[in-house]
Structure formats: C-alpha cells, structure tokens
Amino acid sequence: MVNWTAEEKQLISSIWAKVNVEECGAEALARLLIVYPWTQRFFDNFGNLSSPTAIVGNPKVRAHGKKVLTSFGDAIKNLDNLKGTYSKLSELHCDKLHVDPENFRLLGDILVIVLAAHFGKDFTPACQATWQKLVGLVAHALARKYH
C-alpha cells in the first residue's frame, strides 16, 4: 500500500494543475524517441521519425503523447490505487504491445525533466522527489501484470 503524505499530494496536484497535457505529453514522448532512439521500434507506423525536428513535428507523436499523459492524469486522480488504475493497461503493454517495462522508467524520467524545464525554480528538490516517486510507481504499476 503506497503512502502519500499531504505534502506530496499537494506537490503533485499543484504542478499538475498548471500542466498543458497535450503540449507536455507531446514533448515527453518526442524526447523519448529522440534521446533513446531505440524506443522508435514501437512506433513503426508513425511515419517520419528521421530527425529531432521530424519527431517533434510529427502529428502522430503529438497525439500519442497526449494520450499517454492523459492516462497519467487518471493516475493522479487515483493515487491510492495505481495498481487498479493501470491493471488493464499493464496487460495491454505486455500482451499486445510487447513493451519492455524499462521504457516506462525512461519515459518517467523524461517527464520529470520536461516538468523541470517548464517550471524552473518552482520545481524544487522536494517537488522532484515527489514526482520521481510518482513516475516510479506508475512504471511499477504498468509492469505489474507482465508475465
């Protein structure tokens, strides 16, 4: 059972309230594909991923990034039941998508960096620690149904 202090919940919701899910999601996913190019293996049908510029401008990347981060928003509404929230998605990522869970950790770390670039000094060490905890738990929940 995960424990969230009142302070942690506050740090999560105050940041999330200011996040543009579409922009942030698009950016996080684009950076995943740019910084860790091997992750492109999951997106063969996305069209042009030939350069950072192409990736950033790719409409499928943007759309999928928005989808991924929207799902993250669900986690934030259900901090006390991440396992339940991600149960079906976990099965999907294992059985249909065949994504190595290591990639969830990579995306989580990238999301933290995107938030840091966006929020600057407001992304304090305490804030980062809370968000690292959150992305770690989301990654764990997504990996849970793997077999």
Partner: protein
Amino acid sequence: MLTAEDKKLIQQTWGKLGGAEEEIGAEALLRMFCSYPPTKTYFPHFDLSQGSDQIRGHGKKVVAALGNAIKNLDNLSQALSELSNLHAYNLRVDPPCFSLQFLSQCLQVVLATRLGKEYTPEVHSAVDKFMAAVAAVLAEKYR
C-alpha cells in the same frame, strides 16, 4: 557514441552556466539525496542537510571533474582515468548507481530548471549521452 554535434552542444551548454557550476553541483547532489535516498549510504560521514558545506564542497569537485571531462571529450577514458580508479577500488559505488544515472537525472533536472526552453531535445540527448559515457568510464575498472 558522441557525435561532433553532441560535443558542440555539450560545450555550448556548459558555457551557458556562467560561473554557477558550484551551485549546480551542490543542487544536483541535494536533489539526488532527496529523490534517491539510498545514495546517501555513500556519505555517512557528511552533513547532508541543505546548504551543508560538505555538499557544496563535494558538488564543486564533481562539477570540476565533469568540466574537465567536457574539455577532453575526445579522450574521456584518459581524462577520467584516476577517478575511474578511485571509484573502482576505493569508493566502490554500486555500478548500477551509475548506469541508473541518478546523478545524471538530477544534474539534468538542474540544467533544465535553469535553461528552460534552451534545454532542447537535442541538448537533452547530448547531455544524457555524455553522462552515460562518463558513467561507463568510471565503471570500467570495477572488474
């Protein structure tokens, strides 16, 4: 593998830090201790509270070493050779701590908070690759 473009971006980015290197080192360490508490096990002899002189001093050392590595991107192995020995034989920091890049993540967060939009995907990629290369060199002599 660091491309010529990566090297240029890394050097440019480092150049933008404008003398704040010490603060950046201390902040990266502080963030690492906050986000990844097990990393504190390597510093039982330190005062790890915010603003601690020891964290400042150590942050300064770490950043100086990174700065030196950045001046020698074509020969990281040699530039970091002594540090590689130190980490392998004396400090024996768990190698996955390097490859898991706790310090890399926290340093990048610090850079991102300061550079904002200038921490572009290309810069992000170059810095991430650089830190991975440094980690690999430091872990070279472990066994």
